[in-house]
């Protein structure tokens, strides 16, 4: 069984001769775009500055992960601004962002790119715009559930949930590491939970909170 979403990273040197090219249409009609997408994302990312991007590429160059992305962060901003919603929300880029904030501190327009990525992740999760069993949304969801349940997160339980929901076989692969962590006292299976869980749930699930498109 193969891990579904993330494709293996191929370096240039390792690539075999390219297969026969197929013809794909690259033309984009305005009617295929969502022109309100840029402002919508800017608003949700507290990043009204998103629109002031000058496409300098500092974000892509400083990003430690950009060379594994299908679109560099700069392209994601351009595409978001121009309404390429489908491509952006389907991209691997938003899931590869590790929230290291390098782009945010170096951006000459002070665009909070990391927050833009979060906004895109939220958008993608809410609209189910990701491959089934993609581990990151699942992890986010599992994390959310854990915290709603106990108020704290027990890493071991979180990981087990993650693997059960995505790829149970991977658990076996990770088992050795788990065993080591367990032996050195770095993995506890006991559940941590808080006393004020009732109040916490009241805060999180109160009437004022924004309703997500997908019930959590």
């Amino acid at each position: 069984m193969k891990l579904p979403a993330p494709p293996a990273i191929r370096t240039a040197a390792a690539s075999s001769p390219p297969p026969m090219k197929t013809v794909t249409r690259r033309l984009k009609f305005e009617s295929e775009l969502d022109l309100s997408f840029g402002e919508h994302v800017a608003e949700r990312a507290y990043g009204q500055k998103l629109l002031s991007c000058i496409q300098c590429g500092t974000c892509s160059a400083t990003c430690p992960l950009s060379h594994y992305m299908d679109y560099t962060p700069r392209k994601i901003i351009a595409m978001t601004r121009e309404g390429f919603k489908e491509e952006v929300l389907n991209s691997l880029t938003i899931w590869l962002c590790a929230s290291c904030y390098s782009c945010t501190v170096q951006c000459p327009r002070q665009i909070h790119i990391t927050d833009v990525m979060y906004a895109l992740k939220r958008e993608a999760i809410a609209r189910r715009f990701y491959p089934p069993k993609h581990p990151i949304p699942v992890l986010a969801r599992a994390f959310f559930d854990r915290v709603m349940h106990d108020g704290r997160n027990t890493e071991s339980r979180l990981l087990i949930t993650l693997y059960l929901r995505t790829n149970p076989f991977k658990m076996l692969k990770e088992a050795f590491l788990g065993l080591h962590l367990f032996r050195s006292g770095r993995l506890s299976l006991g559940r941590e939970h808080i006393k004020g869980i009732k109040e916490l749930r009241a805060m999180i699930n109160g009437p004022g909170q924004r309703k997500e498109a997908v019930p959590l």
């Binding site: 000058i54 496409q55 300098c56 590429g57 500092t58 974000c59 892509s60 160059a61 400083t62 990003c63 950009s66 060379h67 679109y71 560099t72 700069r74 392209k75 390098s102 501190v105 170096q106 000459p108 327009r109 002070q110």
Partner: protein, 674 residues
């Protein structure tokens, strides 16, 4: 001619300007006119497309004559723009020009509102206030003062030099004050100039010696302005002349003292060469320095430090020009106009640690490279790096400290072009592969685009992307001992690692460190970036808000040589037009004392910054010297018995304005927006 003694019942003419769509697009001008027409004392209320046009002004003059108006109110743009225009129109109609009041409904209303209803209400309030105010206006006489014909120019870079020569050639006496030991400024440091590749020294030094030799120019180098007082046409300026410890009159610039200095080699980083070479305690900044006079740096000279030097320099000088006892001097001059051409400073590249300036020796700033490739520079024009290597690959990083909200948000305008120039020169000197890393190439001057084209054909690499970092982190064997430039090639959409031997940082232009002190001294303003603020960005680009003070060159904003020279010429022309007019009109907004109300308490005396107020001991009353009063009105607000008043800003007039603003019966109703 109608009576204008101010005792008549007011007959007010009101005019509201459409200013095309500028005002009428938001404010309902017809409604404003109708509203004004119903106000007390208003005889006629009109709206017109452009009040400042001839027919617009004609309306006013005709109405004054035909309708026997004795007060005028115009609601249009800012009084800072057209108050004078309408005062003249009022006067043309036969009234005293100060029977006029202006309402600003463009800058203060239409341009800052998007709700037409609220804007119209606001305009009506302001109009009501002005109508009330003008009713209590008085006729006033303007004051005229003579203008001193001499001009002071501060800063001896290319702008100051050009302005000085222009004025001197027109027969005006000019004093040029330069802080450094030589004039020439940044331009003197450059190797070649874009896009023609003229040698900077070749075109600049003739102008420098022209300054030195011009009978109408007094050149005070190594000097600084310390104090400015007075007003348009009559400025008094104190200048500090720093000691060179070498007599300017005696020294002929033979430089034998430099050879004779007990220091065999220079020990101090040479300022002119950006620290890339060393100079001695006795030195001349560069061979063509103007004036051709050496100077001694007391910080490093042994005689100053210990008093026990052999003084070989003194021995050598057959003109006895060296004088260790020379003292700082303060000179005072009187001038009618002042041109500030104080220039810029380059961005401190250390502020962006990502580019490794100061950490990696082979990272240079552009100005350092100018010296490095210059034949009279530290390496005599050989491209030898700080570590002794000769570069095979060079990366030029654009926009360092420009277009970046983390440092300076403005475009420095010159870096694209000088980077192209340096790319050309570096390639010419070293046959290296040269990379330009740019965000946008801005080549908008005459023959600039053609220069860019030439560079492309020279096979210089142009990578569109802002560099994220310069590191010594090598990921491949071929990257060893190189500086790695990491950048996204945005045209291709791929992140690239470019290993180079030399990095050139195209640093931007910034206001001088002490721009704020200078502007305070000359009583002018700075824009938010810190450059000197012009009176109007389009129509008064070399004037300031202080009459008689003009600005030229990069102290006003980043500029290249052609633009600096053009602006310097413009500033000289403005100064000339002021001086040749011979005299100037002053706003009659001075303070005056109503003697019978004055209790002689002396509260006002200390408050006046211009010592315009004194006390008549015989009468025991305050007296204001109108010539010294500048019309701030602070004494008026201070006087406990209300005995001091201010022309044009009488208490009564301001209270009328307040009343007019607030006497609406109903609270302001707007669309509920804020």
């Amino acid at each position: 001619m109608p009576e204008s003694n101010g005792h008549d019942a007011p007959r007010i003419g009101f005019y509201v300007c459409h200013c095309g769509h500028n005002i009428a697009g938001i404010v309902d001008v017809a409604a404003v006119a109708k509203f004004a027409g119903a106000l007390p004392n208003v005889v006629v209320a009109r709206d017109y497309k452009y009040m400042c046009s001839d027919p617009g002004q004609e309306l006013i003059t005709t109405d004054i004559r035909e309708l026997k108006l004795n007060r005028i109110v115009v609601a249009s743009c800012s009084p800072l723009l057209h108050e004078h225009t309408f005062r003249v129109a009022t006067e043309k109609g036969g009234l005293n020009p100060f029977y006029f009041q202006m309402v600003n409904i463009r800058e203060n209303v239409s341009w800052v509102s998007d709700d037409g209803k609220a804007a119209t209400v606001k305009a009506c309030d302001l109009v009501r206030a002005a109508v009330r105010r003008v009713a209590v206006h008085h006729p006033l006489e303007t004051k005229r003062v003579r203008i001193h014909p001499d001009v002071l120019i501060v800063g001896g870079g290319i702008s100051g030099i050009h302005a000085a020569l222009t004025l001197a050639n027109a027969g005006k006496k000019v004093t040029l004050v330069e802080r450094e030991p030589t004039i020439g400024g940044h331009m003197a440091m450059f190797d070649k100039t874009f896009p023609t590749l003229d040698c900077a020294a070749c075109i600049l030094t003739p102008k420098m010696s022209a300054v030195k030799n011009h009978p109408n120019i007094t050149l005070w180098s190594y000097s600084e302005v310390t104090e400015v007082s007075g007003y348009v046409g009559n400025y008094t300026v104190k200048v500090k002349r720093k000691p060179r410890y070498v007599s300017e009159e005696l020294c002929v610039g033979c430089m034998e003292c430099i050879d004779a200095c007990v220091y065999k080699e220079g020990k101090t980083p040479d300022e002119f060469n950006q620290g890339l070479s060393k100079r001695k305690p006795v030195y001349i900044p560069f061979p063509q320095a103007t004036p051709q006079v050496v100077l001694i740096d007391p910080e490093t000279c042994i005689e100053f430090k210990s008093g026990r030097c052999k003084k070989t320099c003194v021995e050598k000088c057959d003109r006895d020009a060296i004088d260790f006892k020379q003292k700082e001097e303060i000179r005072e001059i009187r001038v009618g106009a002042i041109i500030l051409a104080t220039g810029f400073k380059t961005f401190d590249a250390k502020r962006i640690p990502y580019y490794g300036y100061g950490k990696f020796p082979n990272v240079y700033t552009s100005i350092e490279v100018e010296r490095l490739v210059n034949a009279s520079g530290p390496t005599s024009g050989e491209l030898i790096l700080r570590d002794g290597r000769r570069p095979k690959t060079v990366g030029i990083i654009h926009c360092v400290g420009s277009r970046d909200k983390n440092t300076n948000r403005w475009c420095s305008r010159t870096c694209c072009m000088y980077s192209l120039k340096l790319a050309h020169l570096l390639k010419e000197h070293s046959h290296a592969e040269v990379y330009n890393f740019y965000i946008d190439i801005r080549a908008a001057g005459k023959a600039y685009e053609e220069f860019y084209d030439k560079l492309l054909e020279e096979n210089i690499h142009f990578i569109r992307g802002r560099v994220a970092e310069v590191t010594d982190w090598c990921a491949r064997p071929e990257e060893k001992d190189k500086l790695i430039i990491r950048v996204e090639d945005t045209m291709i959409g791929v992140v690239r690692r470019v290993p180079v031997d030399m990095v050139v940082l195209a640093v931007g232009m910034e206001p001088k460190e002490d721009a704020q002190d200078v502007r305070r001294m000359f009583n002018i303003s700075c824009s938010t970036e810190g450059f000197f603020l012009e009176r109007h960005p389009k129509l008064a680009p070399v004037d300031t808000f202080t009459d008689g003070i003009y600005i030229a060159g990069a102290c006003q904003g980043p500029k290249d040589i052609p633009d600096s020279v053009a602006q310097a010429g413009a500033a000289a022309a403005q100064a000339l037009s002021l001086i040749d007019a011979g005299e100037v009109e002053l706003e009659p907004n001075t303070a005056y004392v109503v003697e019978e109300d004055c209790s002689g308490c002396k509260s006002c005396l200390a408050i006046c910054p211009y010592t315009a107020i004194s006390r008549d001991e015989a009468k025991q009353k305050a007296v204001i010297n109108e010539a010294l009063c500048k019309g701030c009105g602070t004494c008026v607000a201070t006087c406990p018995s209300g005995a001091i008043r201010q022309h044009l800003f009488e208490d009564e007039q301001i209270f009328s304005e307040i009343q007019g603003l607030l006497e609406a019966d109903e609270p302001i109703l707007t669309g509920g927006q804020a």
